[in-house]
């Protein structure tokens, strides 16, 4: 009898544990917090936040230059860190009211509630992805670049077609991979690495002829990590559209509207341009491959 009671109690406990959680970040509750009930829905007190009064930003567990500096998102250095803090200021947060959480790229699009307000991690906006998550407006117009070793026969290539015979590598989950498949369509299947570091090792080992990464990363790689490497040129992953990086939000998060407003204000005031000038100024004068 005692056993049956125990089983019954356990079942009850399971049922209670599985009961639908009160999901404050869910798409069902779009009403903003009503603490500062003024008319402006994007006033700091009205923002829809994970933790009231604090802005929680996610990025990947390891971050690279020039997006962030010294693997530390909190120092405000690097393009993405600087954009994040400037955006926080526009939304009414001081630097000390910004919290960072680590979110591996693969986990950022899982269904259900997120443990961040938005994720900043060089995530390209694509229509397929936008079905699962919400994106802000683009905060950076990205381009893809091909890096080879200076000694490679591909270092003097003048067009994308020249790379058709090359063995190329890219990082998984980046549009660089799509760029290879759509823009170049090489005869050999590209190799796909879990991160850019591994792609670099393969390039140094001549296991691949070139790696495709976004242009600012390409600058950092050739300037710091592979001095023997060179940027052959830049191109767009799909010929018709401009690739953009956007902030990633949980689907239906009403905060997107206010962040979009702030990003647009930063763009028109020239603030974003200044940040870009500061951290990504080298990214000019790279021949465009077609």
């Amino acid at each position: 009898m005692r056993l049956r009671l125990t089983i019954g109690a356990a079942l009850l406990a399971v049922l209670t544990a599985c009961a639908p959680a009160n999901n404050t970040t869910g798409s069902a509750s779009h009403q903003p917090h009503s603490s500062g009930s003024t008319g402006d829905s994007c006033a700091k007190g009205n923002l829809h936040l994970l933790h009231p009064g604090r802005l929680t930003i996610a990025t990947s567990p390891t971050v690279y230059e020039p997006w962030m500096v010294h693997n530390d998102p909190t120092n405000g250095k690097g393009f993405e860190s600087a954009v994040a803090y400037a955006l926080a200021r526009h939304l009414g947060f001081s630097s000390s009211q910004v919290d960072w959480v680590k979110e591996p790229f693969n986990a950022s699009y899982q269904p259900g509630g997120k443990n961040f307000d938005f994720d900043i991690n060089q995530i390209s906006i694509t229509p397929q992805r936008a079905k699962v998550v919400d994106f802000s407006v683009g905060y950076y117009n990205a381009a893809q670049a091909i890096i080879t070793l200076k000694s490679s026969k591909y270092a003097s290539a003048k067009s994308l077609a020249d790379f058709r015979t090359a063995k190329l590598g890219a990082q998984v989950g980046t549009t660089s991979l799509e760029a290879i498949q759509n823009g170049i369509a090489p005869q050999q299947q590209p190799l796909v690495y879990q991160d850019t570091n591994n792609a670099k090792s393969a390039l140094l080992n001549s296991q691949i002829d070139g790696i495709v990464v976004d242009l600012p990363t390409a600058f950092y790689i050739t300037a710091v990590q592979i001095p023997a490497g060179t940027i052959v040129g830049q191109f767009q992953p799909t010929s018709s559209t401009q690739e953009q990086f956007g902030l990633l939000f949980e689907k239906g998060n009403p905060l997107v509207v206010c962040v979009d407003k702030a990003l647009s204000a930063m763009k028109s005031s020239g603030e974003r341009g200044r940040i870009q000038q500061r951290w990504l100024s080298q990214v000019v004068n790279v021949p465009v491959l077609r």
Binding site: Q110, G173, S201, N205
Partner: protein, 304 residues
């Protein structure tokens, strides 16, 4: 052993309740019939209870899943039929690499494992350095995570820039897997060899076989038969670990799933890949069962 007294009293009972002289031989007593009825009733009752509780639990799980507010999104993200269909071709073509790697690596692993295990059985003082090497090899490669071996061999070996080192990624991946699994399999073989009773070797030697002949004809046949199930177990594990070659950029089933997943923000392809791996593993597991049953039959030697 049944006490004789009790047996007698039982028999007496039987005849007292069934005094029918026409029926030759043994007749079930009323008590026996009662007992059988009761057993039947109990069987039906426990079957009904088991079936009801199974159905109830399944229904409960299904209800909790389906009624949870996020179920639709979970289904869409993890179990979407359209996504599975769309990802199937690329995952399947990635699986070819897994199967190739697995089939090529397996015989090499067996050879290496057996060679290392035999090296450890050597007794001559001249072979001492070989024995040390064998011990160091099994210790190191069983201790180091397979992923690290894949990295080291895949990126480290070509970086040495030595003449004659393979450059093909397939060969490098093969070397890494063989090195890692060879250590496990060597230990399995050694366990098998150690499990053969020393008297077997001693009697073989006393019959005039040399140490080598005794190993070859007496010890190894018994040892290998014993370790077939653990060997197959290691190979099932190897099948899955072929996915580790994704670390050096090769596009196997898992990497193909990863590519699709991160492009479309949908996890379904991982389940497609998992389905393929299970489909590969199940036949091996059944072969394992058949082999185990055969070994059992042989040991019984016809007795039941």
């Amino acid at each position: 052993m049944v006490e004789p007294g009790r047996q007698r009293s039982g028999a007496a009972l039987t005849w007292r309740h069934n005094p029918d002289p026409q029926q030759a031989g043994w007749v079930k007593s009323d008590r026996q019939l009662d007992r059988e009825r009761d057993q039947h009733r109990r069987a039906v009752r426990s079957l009904t209870l088991a079936a009801t509780s199974t159905v109830a639990l399944a229904a409960l799980v299904a209800w909790v899943l389906a009624s949870s507010p996020g179920w639709q999104r979970v289904q869409q993200s993890f179990f979407s039929w359209e996504q599975a269909e769309a990802a199937l071709p690329s995952v399947a073509s990635g699986l070819v690499l897994n199967v190739q790697l697995f089939l090529t690596a397996e015989p090499l692993i067996l050879l290496l494992g057996l060679a290392v295990a035999l090296t450890r059985t050597l007794r001559s003082p001249v072979t001492f350095p070989l024995r040390v090497l064998a011990v160091v090899y099994t210790d190191v490669f069983r201790g180091v995570p397979t992923l690290l071996v894949v990295f080291l061999v895949g990126f480290g070996l070509p970086a040495l820039n030595l003449q004659g080192t393979p450059t093909s990624l397939f060969q490098l991946a093969l070397i890494a897997l063989v090195l890692s699994y060879g250590a496990y399999v060597a230990e399995v073989f050694r366990a098998g060899i150690d499990s053969v009773h020393p008297s077997q070797l001693a009697s073989a030697r006393s019959l005039g076989l040399s140490q080598g002949q005794a190993l070859r004809h007496v010890v190894l046949p018994q040892a290998i038969r014993r370790v077939v199930p653990p060997l197959l177990n290691d190979f099932i594990s190897l099948q899955k670990d072929t996915a580790l070659v994704a670390a050096i950029g090769m596009v196997d089933a898992l990497n193909a799933a990863n590519i699709y997943a991160s492009t479309n923000f949908n996890y379904t392809p991982y389940f497609v890949a998992a389905g393929f791996f299970v489909a590969l593993t199940v036949p091996l597991a059944r072969i394992n069962d058949v082999l185990a049953a055969r070994a059992q039959r042989r040991m019984l030697g016809g007795a039941r």
